[in-house]
Amino acid sequence: MTTLRIKNVKKVYPNGAEAVKGVSVDVEDGELVVFVGPSGCGKSTLLRMVAGLESVTEGEIELAGRVVNDLEPADRNIAMVFQNYALYPHMSVRKNLAYGLRNRKTPQNEIDARVNEAADLLQIAEFLDRKPSQLSGGQRQRVAMGRAIVRHPAIFLFDEPLSNLDAKLRNQMRLEIKKLQRRLETAAIYVTHDQVEAMTLADRIVVLNGGQIEQVGTPAEIYANPATTFVASFIGAPPMNMLEANVTGDALEIEGQSLPFPRSHRGPVRMGLRPERMQINGSDAGLNAEITVLEDLGATRLIHARLGNQEVVLSQDADLPVPSDGKISIAFRPDDVHLFDRDSGRRIDA
């Protein structure tokens, strides 16, 4: 079953800004879908339209089988977790959790049961009588999630819920959100601009750019087969190398060097190569390049090199040796090469 259907949705703000330009996505039951994209790509706008906090200019939003375009947020059976927590500062944690239920005339014993259940699940039981100002950032984030959980919504909507936390806590909470969502088996949309968060959390990723969908797929699909140069360089860290090259049918020509490359496509292309899929070759069989900078990241080492007039980055195990004269030959498997059209940026599979 499908929990949420977003059908050809567009959003034009009153000032004329076209934030979402016709997007269609489905969220299946129990699925965690991540909207990812650079700042200003319209992901918050899309999420807020699902929540009912922004009007839908065109298209339809269907939640649990009914069109909700004209429903108030409170009538949509959604729960939202905001970036800055948005807790009610004058209410205790308990009241924060209960507020939504009380307004829906839920019986008191039911409210108590749900609040206690959520508090146990999130380990915030001991803070129930505190005010939000007496909590740490991580604890506030838990309360914000508790407030979403007690509603038993059809779908959770997260708008960058972890971006106010420090890196360590962010990783920990990310894992917890995933576990929690699995356990509750409730569908969720999670908005982030952080591709690592997207890759680790998502059942499916929707990559947005300039108000449009670039690609929808599982993290593995998107990593293995990016549909456009935008997706290719957005997903993965460090980003995929993009090189101007020419394919001739049986060879790859780049910066005057040529390698055997059996693909049917011919002509000038943009060639994508992930830094972690390139190695320094002992022999001279690969692409010859010259090291410019080395970056040690502990376990791995980033090797920046010049290949003719173009820059490439390799990522390899920090233990592996690097030639002292700085001259390297780069090897890679032909299967790891992604070809893209130079004009449209679309993937070429031929």
Binding site: L53, E72, M80, N84, A86, Y88, G100, N103, S133
Partner: protein, 293 residues
């Protein structure tokens, strides 16, 4: 931060001296004089005074027109404070809906605040003028012949309306900035949690404005009791006798018109005590005031 130390320990006191001098000359001295003369019966023409103990207080408190004035002051203060708060809040809420993030309009609305108080008072008084006052003409349509300066409650009503009218912009500005400092995401979270806008207002917005409301309430009480002197003076000018006045105005009238310096001093000492109490309450409230972050 680094604390700078003065070489001479008396130097800071020297720097404070001018301010202290001003306070002493314009505040402490008159206050002391008032307390002193409240125990004397003074002859205004020849300047000799007889010590009468608490007689002035007894006379002041037992006079029937003192009670009447005290009652009027209480009613006046409550109405002016509450009405200014309520109207200011109503206007601020409507403005806030339109203004979200549009600071140009906000600046325009602030201008109201820049009108000099005496000018505002004079305009207000003109509204109730017997001959050219549009409000008098307006209520006349309903058969109410409003006679400000003659009829006790007509005059009182005019005072309440003009005083409120002058205080509303003040409340408005504070409420508006209070409303605008409520984070948008808190309002949105409330929208998801609660359908009824009225309910949202009373359960989220209004409690978040509580510090502002407390602050304005104290401010309004002080205003209504002590700072409406000018307005009242404009309204009752040359209309002696039956007009309602506040306690502060009565002090002035008894002392400077009625030449009862002792009685008027006793009344001002009573007012000083009220101010003292108000100040204590205010500090208590500010201490307790919840700080939201």
């Amino acid at each position: 931060m680094e604390k700078s130390q003065f070489q001479n320990p008396w130097f800071p006191y020297l720097l404070l001296l001018p301010q202290m001098g001003i306070i002493a000359v314009f505040f402490l001295w008159p206050a002391a004089e008032a307390i002193k003369s409240s125990f004397y019966l003074e002859d205004p023409f020849f300047g000799n005074a007889t010590f009468v103990g608490l007689d002035n207080y007894r006379d002041a408190l037992s006079a029937s027109d003192y009670k009447r004035t005290a009652w009027f002051t209480a009613i006046f203060t409550v109405l002016v404070s509450v009405l200014s708060l309520a109207l200011g809040l109503m206007l601020a809420v409507s403005a806030d809906r339109v203004l979200r993030g549009q600071s140009t309009y906000k600046t325009l609305l602030m201008w109201v605040y820049a009108i000099a108080p005496p000018v505002a008072g004079l305009i207000g008084v003109m509204l109730f003028d017997q001959h050219i006052g549009p409000l008098v003409d307006f209520v006349a349509i309903f058969g109410w012949e409003m006679r400000v300066g003659v009829n006790y409650w007509d005059t009182g009503l005019a005072m309440i309306i003009v005083s409120t009218w002058k205080q509303v912009p003040y409340c408005f500005i504070f409420f508006l900035s209070g409303l605008q400092s409520i984070p948008t995401s808190v309002k949105e979270a409330a929208k998801v949690d609660c359908r009824s806008e009225t309910r949202r207002f009373w359960s989220i917005t209004f409690p978040l404005l509580a510090p502002t409301t407390f602050f304005l309430m104290i401010l309004n009480i002080t205003y209504a009791m002590f700072e409406t002197f000018g307005t009242i003076d404009l309204i009752v000018k040359d209309q002696p006798g039956n007009s309602p006045v506040t306690l502060v105005y009565k002090v002035y009238r008894d002392g400077f018109r009625g030449n009862d310096l002792g009685g008027s001093s006793a009344q001002s000492v009573i007012l000083m005590i009220i101010v003292l109490l108000l100040t204590i309450v205010q500090f208590r409230l500010i201490e307790k005031r919840v700080h939201y972050n």
